[in-house]
């Protein structure tokens, strides 16, 4: 399944890009996260939330072809 990933904040530095299309066997948000943690080990260190199609998702949320998935850490700066 192909998905459109968007990386915010420090995640775009960890992954080296602001977004990418990813072909993945992951069927849930949790599975996708595991795959990403393997691909980008530094990602494990960062607290972040996942949204699917502009809506906050849970680890158990099911993914569909073409979903837009944003991975966003909270920011603290002011």
């Amino acid at each position: 399944m192909e998905m459109n990933l968007k990386y915010f904040g420090i995640l775009s530095e960890i992954t080296g890009r602001p977004d990418e299309w990813l072909e993945s066997p992951a069927e849930t948000v949790g599975e996708l996260l595991e795959e990403l943690n393997e691909k980008y080990p530094a990602m494990k260190l960062v607290s972040c939330q996942i949204s699917v199609n502009q809506k906050l998702a849970e680890r158990v949320s099911v993914l569909r072809e073409g979903d837009e998935i944003a991975i966003l850490p909270p920011f603290s700066g002011g």
Binding site: G9, L45, S51, S76, G78
Partner: protein, 257 residues
Amino acid sequence: MNEHYERYQRHFTLTEVGEEGQERLTRSKVLVIGAGGLGCPVLQYLVGAGVGHIGIVDGDQVSLSNLHRQTLYTSEDVGSDKSTVAGAQLAKLNPMVKISSFSEFLNLELALKLFPDFDLIIDGTDNFDSRYLINDAAVITGRPFVSGSVFRHEGQVSVFNYQEGPTYRCLFPQQNRPGFGCAETGVLGPVTGVIGSIMAMEAIKVLLDIPGVLSGQLLILNTLQWTSSQLSFSRKEEQVALAKTRVSHLQSFTHVK
């Protein structure tokens, strides 16, 4: 009264404000936590707009490295308390506004004492501890709060605990992993200017019941590409309950002391 009319002239022709809205702003009380890169534009525009009472909480002193983005301070102010300097400058901007400065870092006791005196809280702090603290005190005291934050060229804004809407913990449950502030990562002044101004606008929308408040919506802005996205999220009662456990901590703490 003539000064009132002349000063707020640009508000009277706006359907969203008008004379009634201006009257409402004048009766409003807003507490701004953090008079830094985000707090400065928030304070300037809310005092300019004629909010009746503004509280400023910041225990920090002005440093040279603040000046590129913290527009209420000058080189002469380096070393002075931010909340005092900001208060004096804002009083000159609009003497019709009552300004209270608190030169202290926020803690739970101070938050629970101050929040009930204000209608709306603004979180312009620069660390996660303060952000969760503000969230929890806002939940406990039943106050909405506008929250903004930046990371390099990106910013986030949302309004939490507004009309039974979701809280900060509903979006970002507390995790023991590192965060990143301005000091470590660097930031350009205009980034805090954009995000702080957006926060001021949201504050005015909350105070005047203007539709479209960013409640249950996180606005994320990239200031290099000027792309924005809004992500929606819902209230989670277990996260709201978590905020309230703070009170029991405080009570037992106070008791033990």
